[in-house]
Symmetry: C2
Subunit: 366 residues, 2 copies
């Protein structure tokens, strides 16, 4: 058995632990037991993940003495809306779940976001545990307490800041993850290097092949490193007043890419990869970052098999989508740009013409 | 102008003030100004309240420099569900409301509960202000941070603990409130006396006529007294771990009355009046309260024109509704009973047979 890494997120009474390792699902019962106020546990998962991991998790929780209710939701970002959330509430209420119940999110970011929001709102708040089964959710969505659902006009517009009681990251679940989704997760891994840690970025550059093999020896410490960066930033700024916004590197552009392509073309991580290239380009264009930056960012993302070109669609559509973004403040879009690899900064004074130039310069040729 | 009463609710960073007086609506601009992070304010109100008070509130906010968006919702408890909540989100998003926006709840408890929940979830949380226009909302719903919507299987099953930044109570709004709703609010006023303050109870007994006239001289200090009791209890127990449950006096029974009558027969306060008689009767029946208690509670509620008899419906339906209540823990219904007028206690060991006997004994003859 590989060693178990544990990280603590310091949020006072809302603090929790992140446990990272391989083949951990069988231990979920003993890990969850001290955190659960009662006997009822609902496992919220998707039609994709349920056949793979519901049985071992349910068995482990059952053996620990819990009454287990599986709630299996349709899979995909397009279901991250109210009607699916309501399926969770309906199942909990029909099965007489009480205020002492605990929810377990078993799946990717969509499952984690919806389960967390459901936990925040059911009976005005019950505890929940995250078991992220995609790389993207492991390094990003499961840490930090952002939960929510989409609105037809934009992503994550309705939700809550609500912390889990535990995050359990089992890299063994990545063995069944489609290659494309592993790569999309790598975009978020690269993000942590770009925004905060040039050494991590260099380590990823040196280990592309091992990462593409999903080698636990290389991947576990890198996931831990990403979670530690996120944990540090979140602990300093739980509700995104300041530096937590740095985690949105590539995301304002990325969300715009997802919006204009109606969430049909790219996985979230892929859109973020495109967004990070745009953020780097804009940083150079505004004279904030040195000239080689974009090229180095783009090269690593390409080696990891990620898209780096912006779809050829009207620039006005992108700008409109960005204007609807949550990160808009007093009509100004707040962007995360780069001073260099390893150092991201917040800017809200960027000229829209520069943004438009960046979009145009990075568009695919067809 | 009558004096302005101000109460502070001590919840640390989530603390806020409750301002109570007469003819305050014109002052909302200057009161809200220091609390609003930006320029955008949405006034959420109902089709009933909008023709009466939307104009003065919108004007006052406009004069204070805010951009004002009115959101007018259909009126009634039956609309306190997701589709109506979504109308708030749709309006905010379509009008490009940002994270720095502020919501104002202008109306009764339903408007306050929905606006508060919408504020908690929009962009994962924006500030909101309560302007309760019913007596029930003034003494109860507007203080304490409980927000939420109903589920077809039960009241308030989905929501958040989310505190307003300010509560503005203008008793002048009660002049337009239908008599029946004023009386329903009196039930909650009486509740504070029963659960915590025998002197308040006696003061209500001595002032029934003035209260029925909605005399500000008598009503303002009594509302302030009720809010102070609630503020004290909430400050000690924000998330209902312990004594906050005392505020549910009459509510487990009351919710059951509302559920079995499908929310069609009674106003919430009326159901609580019936529920308080049942709680008093059960307290006597279990030997917790002295024998005259129920009679005194029932007599005051009757003088205030409130219903005191339980509708003649199957006892099993009431018990079933109570089993679905949020306050159930590990299968046990937690009830608020009385040791005497002015002293409520929490009990979760009451025999269902005693509950059934109380329901039967208090049923209307037809």
């Amino acid at each position: 058995m590989h060693p178990l890494f544990t990280l603590s997120l310091d949020l006072g009474p809302r603090g929790y632990e992140i446990v990272i390792g391989e083949n951990l699902l069988g231990r979920v019962g003993s890990l969850v037991k001290p955190l659960a106020p009662g006997q009822q546990v609902a496992i919220v998962t998707s039609t994709t993940v349920a056949p793979l991991y519901l049985a071992p998790v349910a068995t482990a929780l059952g053996e620990a003495g819990f009454t287990v209710l599986p709630i299996i939701l349709p899979d995909g970002e397009e279901y991250k809306e109210w009607p699916t959330l309501q399926m969770i509430f309906d199942a909990l209420i029909e099965n007489r779940f009480e205020r002492s119940a605990l929810l377990v999110a078993l799946g990717g970011g969509v499952i984690g976001d919806m389960t967390g929001f459901a936990a925040s709102a059911f009976m005005r708040g019950v505890p929940f545990v995250q078991i992220p089964t995609t790389l993207l959710a492991q390094v990003d969505a499961s840490v930090g307490g952002k939960t929510g659902i989409n609105h037809p006009l934009g992503k994550n517009l309705i939700g809550a800041f609500y912390q889990p009681r535990l995050v359990l990251i089992d890299v063994a679940t990545l063995k069944t993850l489609p290659k494309r989704e592993v790569l999309a997760g790598m975009a978020e891994v690269v993000k942590y290097g770009i925004l905060r840690d040039a050494d991590l970025f260099a380590r990823i550059e040196s280990n592309v092949e091992a990462l593409l093999r999903v080698d636990p020896e290389v991947l576990i410490p890198i996931i831990r490193h990403c979670c530690a960066i996120k944990a540090e930033i979140v602990a300093a700024d739980e509700r995104e007043g300041g530096q937590r916004a740095l985690l949105n590197l590539g995301h304002t552009f990325g969300h715009a890419v997802e919006t204009v392509t109606r969430y049909k073309t790219f996985l979230h991580g892929e859109a973020v990869a495109i967004g990070m290239v745009l953020a780097a380009d804009l940083s150079e264009r505004c004279g904030i970052a040195p000239t080689a930056t974009t090229q180095r960012v783009r090269a690593l993302l390409e080696r990891l098999g990620l898209p780096v070109q912006t779809p050829r669609l009207p620039v006005a559509d992108y700008l409109d989508a960005m204007a609807h973004d949550k990160k808009v403040q007093d009509g100004r879009t707040r962007l995360i740009l780069l001073e260099e690899i390893g150092r991201a900064v917040i800017r809200d004074t960027i000229d829209t013409k520069q943004v438009a130039a960046t979009l145009t310069a990075n568009m695919a040729t067809k």
